[in-house]
Subunit: 139 residues, 3 copies
């Protein structure tokens, strides 16, 4: 069996890290699949999905500081010459992290730790409305 859920997530951009764990859990709870794989994927090439502990230090400071050092916003990106825009760093950061995460589903529960939540990171340079797809395959 396969089930598809789509959620819309407003972001502020600029490496905004958003805890979407409860949204994913709600999608899982709506369906009838109890065991399988849950793939959470964001549409677009300037955002990414991963897991982290959803506490303010990591969400609002540490991950942002990490990505700013990893691929600085003010470095040279040839992408910005192509489109005359300013989000080359957002593309590079998003590619390095990846657009989706896949988590086992066991007896209706996501295989995550107590202090481990699924997050959307929007690296783009402006506020956006992101579409996240939650695809569940199993039985």
């Amino acid at each position: 069996m396969t089930q598809t859920h789509r959620i819309q997530v407003p972001t502020r951009g600029d490496t905004d890290v958003i805890d979407i764990n409860d949204l994913v859990k709600s999608a899982v709870d709506e369906g009838r699949i109890r065991d399988g794989l849950v793939c959470v994927a964001v549409i677009g090439s300037t955002a990414a999905i991963t897991t982290t502990e959803a506490e303010p230090g990591l969400l609002t400071h540490d991950l942002k500081a990490f990505y700013e050092k990893l691929a600085p916003a003010d470095a040279y990106y040839q992408h910005e010459q192509t489109w005359h825009d300013d989000n080359g760093h957002a593309h590079v950061r998003a590619s390095a992290l990846g657009p989706s995460v896949t988590i086992p589903l066991i007896d209706g529960r996501l295989a995550l730790g107590t202090w481990q939540q699924i997050v959307l990171i929007d690296f783009d340079t402006r506020a956006r409305r992101r579409e996240v797809v939650i695809q569940i395959v199993g039985e």
Copy 2:
């Protein structure tokens, strides 16, 4: 249902970023699965799969510059003492990015943005012929 496709992709190595999105779409179109998960995986430990916008700035400059800064080719890698080769940086980059990406398939279409393509990155230090597996699970 499960469907397996294998494609061969020639690369030039040296962080060659290759748009394989149309190859993945063709594989999906050949089969009968319409909804599920599409896992795109490269065989080997010096290449990786992710998504990015397939435009020349990112493909030929920005991602390569990023990975050269991230894990420089001329840094010290103990791996190169083990095998007396020169691709320690390729292994480190490939491990950091990961060998596969999983994308939802919805009504026969990959859940990707208009400017978001699946790419193979070959970090090795020589041209290679890469085997990429596209495994589709669904219904």
Copy 3:
């Protein structure tokens, strides 16, 4: 069909890179699914899963040196103010790499290269007993 396997992996922490490939293969061999997807996921937000060549240079030196440079242990992390602990770098590294890897299963074999093994990396600052879930979906 879906099959769930859980394994316990003792680690030493401190970016300990552990080859779990044989454990994953044993789990696959125990079950009846021959074709599908194998998702290997670690529970918790300070560890991650990827693939690399399991040789001593990469396992004991290169990946550790890479992550120490990427997110240094002695940098400032606001996370450590929240909990008065010392593992901010472990959280950042684990989020950047991701908690799971998904590998195609074809005729009972994982789609990996000869010199490519699935590894668990424990970034935390102490020895831990990690729970790794191997979820197989297919037929």
